[in-house]
């Protein structure tokens, strides 16, 4: 058998799934090639849907990419003085410009900026030596999971529904996913009792639970964890000796005021010793989300808390195999955590652009939630944060039968029909995990505000006709 015959390749690769760019996306791309107008709401990719890049960071990075511009006498006519100063500052941090490998952990000067940002946000000092910049947050997540997972006997607690990076990575590294179900009727709330049961059940099967993932604000579910919830989680991790992996990439996307974002680290530090010195925590952040949306730059970081020095050394060693994260992405991160301040030349414009984007996201979150809730057999929790709407679609039994006949999972069947009818490309809920017999789909809230009404009415038309077609009075898929 030849090495790359399908039968002989790594089983873990075959098992891994990543629905965000899976079946629906591939079908949508096919249709797009055939000339159909597609609205891609399958991935949190703001710029692809018309969100403009913030001006200041682009000016800074442009100057860093082409330092000869700084020598031109006219540069001050095109670029504001603070962008010029910042570019010079970042170039000074490098030893050879953007084309030189940096420290494998990222440029020390930028890691210091990240530490200062964290300290300002949380009120506790953060150590730049324990902050590693990565090519996007995903690379950091994968590295940490690879470090933790020793074999199939190692379990990672993952929320269901979850962002399928986690399920894919756990499968690729040969570990076991231990699900804990978020409660849809309680706004996707986390039930600590459910957590305990999941752990007990896995242990009974011989699995050693090693880590717990929280996504806060949630993806695809959008819920923001309360301080009480975070405290419970930290206590739980402390008792069970789990490392907490805090995916906080949506920390700047919060659309309600009752539960602002609080970092897991802040809550941990607030709880004081001994727990604040014991719980092992890794926190992740990115330039891809928030109001920046610079997905294509691949800029992210991980921050380690209470990780023993020997382990940190191993993580450094593995990071060094890739030599360094991309330097332009690092600079985007630096500007993100250290943006223009009041009084800076670029501040007004920066503040205006940022507020505009965040305000619009908040509006769109509401428009989408309301739009879905106005549809037959669709129930949608409010998007408290992140970038997605995750409505539940109560599929009639006849629809589920039709799906089975077509050889498709019911929500995939629904989403494919939606795609063909309207061009709206979503991700079926089965891609994120959900309770048995309960179906969802995930869309982003990213289409332009002015396009929203048309999109929602197009969806409603499709959905209500679909329900008309498949309804009878036998009952529905239910929560």
């Amino acid at each position: 058998m030849a090495a790359l015959d399908y039968e002989s390749i790594n089983e873990n690769v075959k098992k891994a799934q990543y629905a965000v760019r899976g079946e629906l996306y591939l079908r949508a791309s096919e249709l797009q090639k055939e000339g159909k107008k597609i609205i891609f709401t399958n991935v949190g990719n703001p710029h692809a849907l018309g969100q403009k890049p913030l001006t200041f960071p682009r000016q800074v990075v442009a100057l860093c990419q082409a330092p000869f511009l700084l020598d031109d006498p006219n540069v001050g006519l095109i670029f504001p003085a603070d962008a010029i100063a910042r570019a010079k500052y970042y170039l000074g941090l490098t030893s050879g410009g953007l084309g030189a490998y940096s420290d494998s952990r990222g440029l020390p000067g930028i890691r210091k900026e990240v530490a200062e940002f964290i300290e300002k946000r949380d009120g506790y000092p953060s150590d730049p030596e324990l902050i590693y910049l990565t090519d996007g947050a995903s690379k950091g997540v994968m590295q940490i999971l690879q470090t933790i997972i020793r074999g199939q006997g190692d379990g990672i607690l993952v929320p269901v529904p979850q962002y399928p990076l986690y399920s894919a990575a756990i499968t690729l590294f040969g570990g076991s996913l231990v699900p804990y179900y978020l409660e849809e009727t309680a706004n996707w709330g986390l039930d600590i009792q459910n957590l305990r049961e999941s752990v007990a059940e896995s242990r009974a099967r011989g699995i050693t639970v090693r880590a717990m993932v929280i996504i806060n604000p949630g993806n695809p579910t959008g819920q923001c964890l309360s301080v009480a919830n975070l405290k419970e989680i930290l206590k739980f991790c402390n008792q069970e000796k789990l490392v907490l992996l805090g995916d906080e990439v949506y920390q700047q996307n919060v659309y309600q005021d009752e539960r602002p974002f609080i970092s897991a680290r802040k809550v941990l530090m607030d709880m004081g010793p001994p727990i604040s010195k014991e719980v092992q925590l890794v926190s992740f952040h990115t330039v891809s989300k928030g109001y920046w949306g610079e997905c294509g730059q691949r800029g992210g970081y991980l921050e380690m808390t209470n990780i023993p020095p020997q382990t940190v050394d191993e993580i450094y060693k593995v990071a060094s195999i890739s030599l360094s994260p991309n330097v332009p992405g690092q600079i985007f991160m630096g500007v993100m955590v250290n943006p223009p301040k009041p009084g800076d030349i670029s501040y007004d414009r920066f503040a205006r652009e940022s507020k505009g984007i965040l305000g619009s996201l908040r509006k769109r979150a509401q428009i989408m939630t309301d739009g879905f809730n106005s549809c037959r057999n669709v129930v949608c929790n409010f998007t408290e944060g992140a970038m997605y709407s995750f409505p539940q679609v109560r599929l009639p039994p006849k629809a589920i039968e039709a799906a089975k006949k077509a050889g498709k999972v019911p929500d995939v069947f629904y989403c494919l029909r939606l795609l063909e009818a309207t061009g709206i490309s979503t991700v079926p809920g089965s891609g994120f995990g959900q309770k048995d017999g309960v179906f969802h789909l995930r869309t982003t809230i990213l289409p332009a505000e002015e396009d929203m009404p048309a999109i929602m009415s197009s969806f409603k038309k499709f959905n209500d006709e679909f329900m008309e077609q498949y309804e009878d009075n036998r009952g529905y898929s239910r929560m």
Binding site: I9, Y18, L98, G99, S322, N326
Partner: protein
């Protein structure tokens, strides 16, 4: 050490090409800067800043990016238009067609290597043939993905030649130990060894892979670095096609990067792998792996297309581009020669020529006294030597044990990258140190 010297040069063994005052290719960087500027929709005339073809190229690229959004995740294999450009560049290089769908743009070449290792290795019983000495990405990624490295030794006495008999012997040896060998890694031009394979050698390798059912993993990141007129870079894909092996006959994966050649844009993390001869189901799996990380960084993707499809004769930037390229490559060739001669003039050091790549890998014939001192210090002899070198001179090299070597031999890897005007001083420091070292440890 004089303080002025400490500031102005600090030779390092990392490929920090730009650190060595190598200026990133003007027209390439202009293009990317313009992309950023154009994205700001600034309408100030840029004639004074940029050449017309850089502006044109940048506009072309922007139009290939959906919604002109350089900050959006792209297609997981990389922006289609850029892959078309890269395929055209490969075709111009090889005179054989290249399919953009075979190209996976990655954050540097390394992630592509990781993906292939992940795909090929299911357990310790799966092996990958690797050259010794090798670039330790291969040993590390094989270990990380739970496989077994099957070494084949390059022959130092024949300029780091690759002997087919050695390959066959190692393959049989592995099989007898119950290892299923899945692939053969060839680094051409070599790292750390610098040899450029002869076409005949390459044909033997292709035939070997075909006969044994191995995937050929061709690390070709130094394809732009060949310093000797009697050798030329030929891609393995081209060699296979010339032998009559078609699209479906033999799996060949070629890795390329923007970090090497005459660009040296290491920090951008730009690269690709061209995957040919694989069945559709396997390509789908590779795509799936790529999609979990969504996409490679856009700036690196754009740079990869500029590397593979540079300014052409007739373009406004062509003259300056060629001048920059020639200047960098000829300087690298001179530096390689000067350092090689410098090493060969030292007692107890023999150094093969660097035909290509960016390194020299001199062999240390250490006196017994030195080897004993190393043992006492609990260090490998080459690590002991390298540490002493660092402490005495500030020159950082990598001990040969980091790349593996024939047991009982000792080497270190040194780049040829210090600025040309600093090379004499580097040679002087090395000579001074080495002489003192040999005086101390001569038997």
């Amino acid at each position: 050490m004089q303080s002025e010297e400490r500031l102005s040069f600090w030779p390092r063994d990392y490929n920090k090409t730009c650190k060595k005052n190598q200026v990133p290719t003007l027209s390439m960087r202009s293009s990317i800067a313009i992309l950023e500027i154009l994205n700001l929709l600034i309408s100030v005339p840029l004639h004074s800043l940029e050449s017309a073809d850089a502006i044109r190229r940048a506009s072309e690229i922007l139009n290939q990016i959906p919604a002109r959004a350089t900050g959006a995740y792209s297609h997981s294999q990389g922006i289609k238009g850029l892959r078309d450009t890269i395929a055209a560049g490969i075709e111009a290089r090889d005179s054989f067609p290249a399919d953009p769908n075979d190209i996976f743009l990655t954050d540097g070449a390394s992630p592509g290597v990781h993906m292939m290792m992940q795909l090929l290795l299911s357990s310790e019983n799966d092996g990958i043939l690797c050259p010794i000495p090798q670039y330790p990405l291969y040993s590390a990624s094989i270990t990380l993905h739970g496989g077994t490295l099957v070494p084949y030794y390059l022959d130092e006495a024949t300029g780091w030649g690759l002997e087919m008999s050695e390959l066959k012997k190692q393959l049989e040896d592995a099989k007898s130990k119950g290892i299923t060998v899945k692939a053969l890694v060839v680094i051409n031009p070599g790292n750390p060894t610098g040899q450029v394979l002869s076409e005949e050698n390459q044909r033997d390798i292709v035939k070997f892979c075909k006969n044994e059912g191995l995937v050929l993993l061709a690390d070709e990141v130094y394809q732009g670095n060949v310093y000797v007129p009697e050798k030329k870079f030929h891609s393995f894909k081209k060699v296979a096609r010339l032998m009559g092996y078609g699209e479906t006959d033999i799996p060949v994966v070629s890795f390329q990067s923007v970090s090497k050649g005459y660009h040296g844009e290491c920090g951008k993390r730009g690269g690709y792998m061209e995957v040919t001869g694989l069945r559709h189901e396997i390509r789908e799996q590779i795509y799936k792996l790529a999609s979990v990380n969504l996409c490679a960084n856009i700036s690196g993707q754009i740079l990869a297309s500029l590397v593979m499809y540079p300014p052409k004769l007739g373009d406004e930037s062509y003259e300056s581009y060629i001048a920059e390229k020639e200047q960098i490559l000829s300087s690298l060739a001179r530096r390689a020669k000067t350092l090689e001669d410098g090493f060969n003039n030292l007692e107890g050091i023999t150094c093969n020529k660097a035909e290509g790549a960016m390194y020299l890998f001199p062999q240390l014939h250490l006196p017994q006294k030195a080897i004993k001192a190393a043992e006492a210090a609990k260090k490998a002899p080459d690590a002991f030597y390298a540490r002493r070198l660092l402490d005495a001179t500030g020159v950082v090299v990598v001990p040969g044990s980091g790349f593996r070597q024939v047991p009982g031999t000792w080497h270190f890897r040194c780049t040829i990258l210090p600025p040309e005007d600093k090379i004499p001083a580097v040679v002087h420091r090395l000579t001074e140190f080495h002489t003192a070292f040999m005086d101390e440890f001569r038997d």
